[in-house]
Symmetry: C2
């Protein structure tokens, strides 16, 4: 078995070894650019950890890991256009630097590149690998569409929200791990269980993100604490408050959305969260999904010691600083 840092090194090396065509340069430069901006490479790393779990061949799994990472970066390029985001990982987004049209088209080619990577897996598991990959890709697009829709809807319910974050972020983590199982020729049952591990971990992670946005340590949380409150984002916390609050509180909350002083707004909304114990309920929900994740991996019939790294990285992901 390999340590996560060894696997990460393999992934970085493989990404560096990718040679894109040089013509038309304006189509491929953005791809090299976004792929080299880094990020934690958490999805391909966990994919390879699953390969280790099932005693598979790491080298044979690299194409699947590259497919997942390339697809993930493709979604970033297109999502950043839709979200009109100027920065990604502290650098200019692709559409800011090269324009929206090139960003659309470079993204499209990245989807093709992802598929090309995947075709290099063993031909005897090519079909199930493609099926898992396509289902994942479709889910991610559905999640992004729901996320955009929710911005203009005022009747979003919590189960819909959970389903949105499941599709938008958790399906890709689950799908990456399922691909790891498939390329390792694990059983269907094992592939499904590791998918459940990844998907539920992904939902728990996103719920934690919602909590950290309000209660995180500004020095340790990567984003601006209170950012979701400032932008009136319909997070789990916000939706839970809307579900529980009296009409009076809801009126107050609506008025707050026009607060000119952002830090006052953050303080006031946070105090409403506190009043309704929203943090505790969000943590409860997060733990439910984390429990589901651990129950799924627990059912996988391999030596407990082989699961240790995956369980450990899951704990690390869920122990970000408050």
């Amino acid at each position: 078995m390999h340590s996560p840092s060894e696997l990460l090194k393999r992934i970085e090396q493989s990404i560096n070894e990718i040679r894109y065509p040089t013509y038309p340069a304006s189509l491929y430069e953005p791809i090299s650019y976004i792929m080299s901006l880094g990020g934690k490479r958490i999805r391909p790393t966990m994919l390879l950890m699953v390969v280790d779990l099932f005693n598979g061949d790491i080298a044979a799994a690299i194409p699947a890991a590259l497919a997942i990472e390339t697809f993930h970066n493709f979604t970033l390029v297109h999502d950043d256009i839709m979200d009109n985001a100027p920065l990604r990982r502290g650098q200019q987004t692709v559409h800011e630097r090269w324009g929206a049209n090139t960003a659309i088209l470079s993204g499209d080619v990245m989807m093709v590149e992802a598929n090309k990577h995947l075709t290099r897996v063993d031909v005897d598991i090519l079909k199930p690998a493609l099926d898992a990959f396509n289902a994942t890709a479709q889910g991610v697009c559905e999640g992004q569409q729901l996320d955009m829709e929710f911005e203009t809807r005022n009747d979003v319910r919590i189960p819909e929200y959970i389903d949105m974050i499941r599709l938008k972020t958790a399906v890709l983590l689950g799908g990456a791990m399922k691909l790891g199982a498939i390329v390792s020729k694990a059983s269907h049952e094992h592939a499904d269980l590791i998918y459940q591990f990844g998907e539920n971990l992904g939902i728990a992670f996103q719920l934690q993100d919602d909590i950290l946005d309000v209660y995180g340590d500004p020095l340790k949380f990567g984003k601006q604490v209170g950012g979701d409150i400032i932008s009136d984002k319909k997070t789990y916390l916000r939706l839970k408050l809307q579900e529980l609050a009296t009409d009076e509180t809801l009126t107050v909350l609506t008025q707050m959305s026009t607060d000119r002083d952002q830090s006052v707004k953050v303080t006031r909304v946070t105090s409403l969260y506190d009043q309704y114990s929203i943090r505790e309920q969000a943590e409860e929900m997060m733990k439910e999904y984390l429990d589901k994740a651990f129950k799924a991996i627990d059912k996988i019939d391999v030596d407990t010691v082989r699961k240790a790294e995956l369980i450990s990285i899951a704990h690390q992901l869920m122990n970000r600083e408050y």
Copy 2:
């Protein structure tokens, strides 16, 4: 063997039978919409004609035909965003009707849907089918990028232009036919020859389009005659004129681009084309590519009678009204 109209019927029927998910509706409605706007379905029809050529199984080839048609429609959705086009086949474009963000995302899902269709081909030819499909998809994106780049470049040469139209339109026709050969389990050599037939036919077709834009019968040509001249599009005709014209003529041509009266501009540029025999040279070039196409299909080692329909449809495509 089947007539082209029988094959077209099979394709229309198969498109009608596709059931997209219903949620999120806003993601899938645009897909049903664009797929049902029609068009000539020339690529999937010719794909199935190739299947007939090689005595393959039409039913087994339907997934490949749907993959090609879905991919083609995906490119229309994204190209229309980039070109800021309000209409497609006389109807609102997807981005006009649903907004650019939904058009980006529905397009992305169409690429996934195209890949999903393709995974349903016989598993023993899945890998070569994917390789042909991905190479095609990549080429089409490269062609669109070059087309956009050429708009702002003043030093485009004819070989680059030919390469652009090859990638943007001809590769997809060639790729469709190659897929038809692959799903029919034809030899590599036959697959390559039919690809050459399709690609060269596609280039000839596009050159014909450039000619018709200037010399077509306004009642029979689908688009506005003179449209390329009005928009200063760098077509084969324009580039050939720039290559041959004296400095004096080039100055006159540059001045014409600011002509306020569009019909005067069309008349004046056309008379320059006439002066330099541009039409004849464009027709010469078109015939060269058509010759290459027919030479390629000629080399295919099957009964001549089996080739008749494909040759006949190629002639039909190239006998649009002047």
